[in-house]
Symmetry: C2
């Protein structure tokens, strides 16, 4: 006879842990992309998928609040996109991700993007089982967003600063925004990117490729 200790784990966190085990067992590198509405997550995914599809097998789980969304924009580049509706909630949750994972052939992919709904608050708190969170901030938003919405920046491994082609027309200082983000999270990697001109995309896809490769190398070792 043995005694079972209750772990008092939140059900979302319990299911997130299961998701993480499934992803790791299949050597899938997974990112949970978090941003406010309209920061450019879908355009970033489109550009990323087109750059990487020759050597990386990818899938996307895309969160929408009600309907609509941009699944078709990514799907047309030949990538599987599973849509998860939050039906009003401001973030995806781990059970939704678990169901979406059921529809993806995990042993056949290397890289999974989870595109959260457009919200800097809810998604920052909620674990989905991803390997890393990535926060996406547009240069057209405020430099102060890292201080106003610190959780999203604190819990992210990387910051993608989008729409930098517009910096010349804006009162926005990229170094100031990055400095503020690093006040909250000194370890934050930063990728300033213009999906319009392509500037910065190479550093981003190099980093992703590296993360994927490391996982395959570990798998072979």
């Amino acid at each position: 006879m043995s005694t079972v200790r209750s772990e008092a784990l939140d059900p979302n966190d319990w299911i997130a842990r299961e998701n993480r085990k499934r992803l790791e067992a299949n050597r899938v590198f997974s990112l949970n992309l978090i941003s406010g509405p309209g920061a450019g997550k879908t355009t970033l995914l489109e550009r990323t998928v087109v750059r990487m599809r020759d050597w990386t097998r990818m899938a996307v789980i895309s969160g929408v609040v009600h309907r609509g969304g941009d699944a078709e924009r990514v799907r047309r580049h030949g990538v599987q996109v599973e849509v998860v509706q939050t039906t009003g909630a401001g973030h995806l949750d781990s059970p939704g991700i678990s169901r979406a994972l059921d529809a993806i052939d995990l042993p056949r992919i290397d890289l999974l993007f989870i595109e959260n709904v457009g919200d800097l608050i809810g998604p920052a708190e909620v674990d989905l089982g991803q390997a890393m969170k990535v926060v996406v901030l547009a240069a057209t938003e405020g430099e102060d967003n890292p201080l106003k919405y610190p959780d999203a920046f604190r819990r992210a491994a990387a910051l993608v600063l989008t729409k930098i082609d517009l910096l010349q027309h804006l009162d926005f200082s990229a170094p100031a925004a990055i400095r503020r983000a690093r006040t909250v999270n000194p370890e934050l990697l930063t990728f300033p990117i213009s999906c319009y001109t392509g500037e910065g995309l190479e550093a981003w896809t190099d980093w992703l490729t590296n993360q994927v490769t490391v996982r395959h190398r570990v798998a072979r070792a």
Copy 2:
């Protein structure tokens, strides 16, 4: 002896109703400004306050998630700003507004702006007791936001489309965004505005002045 019927009103809605009664009793016109992070609510408030302060007595309740925020930016124009912390939540609630109203001399103001935290999802659902909700969308966000976050647009009386000076540099069609917003809410008033050039501000402050005046006229009648 009488029978009391339970109204089964949500506590937030109950307190919102009390807030609304207080504001109406004092002939205060009140707006709940809702947008994603970085859409430009604070800059809009700054420009609005400076244009209207000679003939309108205003106050602002400003929501922040943790700390920071932009209260000082508005306060320096001579307007009382009460800050309400949501401590992690993605929207203001009616008890927070009730406490902030305690700190404002309501008979001495005409117009109250409630600047919600930067989020298009939570704030759309939650009644604070305001006369009207106003949704603020930046031209630098997606044209599709009205379809992706329909509640915010459905429950608003007006849409302020900010940062229109950047339209020339963007793949964003203001008519398309407004058309999509009107699919969700055919009654929506729209104010395209550049706080940078000043374009469109007059129509917005004229409308606000009109709303305030109507309330004073009713009060005198």
